[in-house]
């Protein structure tokens, strides 16, 4: 469920800026957070740097540009620079993993889908490692990727999570949240939120498969392999191939993901189950990729990428995604092609019948800012 603080709903941006500059510590945190979240457009983000005093973390450059920061177990983002683009590996493995993983993600999007970074316009890839102490999570904060070290502050026999940079698909997952933010803008709640999560798992897994040069049949389709310690009975956080089977543990419980619409989980928790029901579209992608065969990033990935970029909107649901991937497959590979049929089977296996009749209104899949930028030549044409 999308929550808004009262401060965000009532106060205009200029007043939030005043609070951000002059309020108490707690007020400043809230005001800056609200300003950040409401300023999703690049132009507004630049304006933000005027009062935060920090160099803004978006740079339109020619190609791949990464910076990895070290939060040194604190909460201030982005932290201290640990490695910049082109610099040699350092001794800190988490720094190198964040650097290499964001690079591999950039390469997949650039080499296969001809997308220049998160925004399609060379946005710098910023990552922060060593966030807080005992922080067993990774997230995308709207501007950058953030990684915790897991349970490094607990005795070895009590640890459940390793560092979150250990799995390259986690890095691809977080970076893809950025892509979604600039494209379909899927609302982070209920089915649109579960699609948002699924897109991140799809391209996260594809980054791993691309890096390992695996076919769809060879890949493990596990999200977060290596993330759980040996104290946990589990192979990872999610299974795209068999949702609901990634872990079953006395402390963590059982993987709650459904693999079929008949098992869809209605909950208010986790923004309406965005990390739970994503199992359904995840498996639809897996089936599609397996049906097509070969490397999943090539055809199945292309279909999903075009759907994310051009067809889905902020309110799209699973049925919309089924219809729109089917349509994308037809446009890319032809009606009745193997790929077209594979998409149909993928969704059928999770309980959704594709509707190719165009009942879904044709979405723009694109913000007006992007359109304007392309019109004036400031963004690449599609």
């Amino acid at each position: 469920m999308h929550k808004h603080s009262p401060i965000n709903c009532i106060l205009p941006p200029h007043m939030l800026e005043d609070i951000a500059n002059n309020g108490t510590a707690a007020q400043r945190v809230l005001a800056i957070s609200n300003l950040k979240s409401s300023a999703q457009m690049v132009g507004k983000r630049r304006a933000l740097s005027d009062f935060t005093g920090a160099a803004f973390r978006v740079a339109a450059v020619g190609g791949k540009e990464r910076i990895v920061y070290d939060a040194r177990n604190g909460s201030n983002l982005p932290g201290t620079i640990a490695r910049k683009e082109g610099e040699a590996p350092v001794t800190d493995i988490a720094v190198n993993e964040a650097y290499d993983g964001s690079g591999a993600t950039y390469d997949l999007f650039k080499n296969i889908y001809e997308r220049n970074s998160i925004d399609g316009n060379g946005m710098r890839l910023d990552s922060t490692v060593h966030y807080q102490k005992g922080y067993d999570n990774a997230f995308w904060d709207g501007e950058q990727m953030v990684y915790g070290d897991g349970d490094e502050n607990l005795p070895v026999n009590e640890r459940l999570f390793n560092r979150f940079t250990i799995a390259i698909d986690v890095i691809g997952h977080e970076l893809t949240h950025g892509v979604t933010q600039f494209e379909a803008k899927l609302t982070y709640s209920q089915q649109p939120g579960a699609l948002n999560e699924s897109m991140s798992d799809v391209f996260g897994s594809l980054v791993k498969q691309y890096t390992l040069n695996q076919t769809a049949a060879e890949a493990d389709w596990i999200i977060g392999a290596g993330l759980l310690t040996e104290n946990v009975n589990g192979v990872g956080i999610r299974s795209m191939k068999a949702p609901g089977t990634a872990y079953n543990d006395p402390v963590l419980g059982k993987d709650p993901q459904p693999a079929h619409m008949k098992d869809y989980v209605n909950t208010v928790s986790d923004n309406g189950g965005v990390h739970i029901n994503s199992g359904i579209p995840n498996r639809a992608f897996y089936i599609t990729a397996l049906e097509i065969g070969g490397n999943a990033w090539q055809k199945a990935g292309q279909i999903w990428y075009v759907t994310l970029r051009d067809k889905l909107t902020s309110t799209s649901k699973f049925q919309d995604c089924a219809n729109l991937t089917y349509k994308a497959a037809e446009e890319l590979f032809g009606a009745g092609s193997l790929e077209h049929q594979a998409v149909k089977k993928g969704w059928a296996d999770v309980g959704l019948t594709v509707d190719g009749g165009g009942t879904t209104p044709p979405p723009s899949g694109d913000g007006c800012l992007s359109s304007l930028l392309r019109l004036i030549g400031a963004a690449p044409a599609r």
């Binding site: 009262p6 809230l30 979240s37 067993d136 956080i237």
Partner: protein
């Protein structure tokens, strides 16, 4: 003002795994209950807004903390980067308590 009960829930995050604790502070080891009371005092917990969560974050945790005293019950919902430093210390303490409770179950 006596704290009678604390309920804590962490949801969301990359893994989407729920952590929760429900306890009376008297049941905690003395050093933990003292740390808890000090943090609640430092934060003026009863005066915190009910919603302190940020928008625009994907895979962030959502924390819900309910503190019941002999005078009132107050719930605060917060995220990671929206929480002030003292709140983050409180969240880390509650996470540790939740982890212990889950292990004993």
């Amino acid at each position: 003002m006596k704290v009678e009960r604390v309920q804590f829930e962490r949801t969301g995050g990359f893994a989407g795994i729920r952590f929760a604790a429900d306890f009376k502070p008297d049941e905690l080891p003395h050093d933990q209950s003292k740390e808890l009371f000090d943090l609640l005092d430092d934060l003026d917990f009863d005066d915190l807004p009910e919603q302190m969560i940020e928008d625009g974050v994907a895979d962030g945790f959502t924390y819900s903390i309910t503190v019941k005293t002999n005078k009132k019950t107050h719930t605060v919902v917060t995220g990671d980067s929206s929480a002030p430093e003292k709140m983050q210390e409180l969240l880390q303490l509650l996470n540790r308590i939740a982890r212990n409770q889950m292990r004993k179950q």
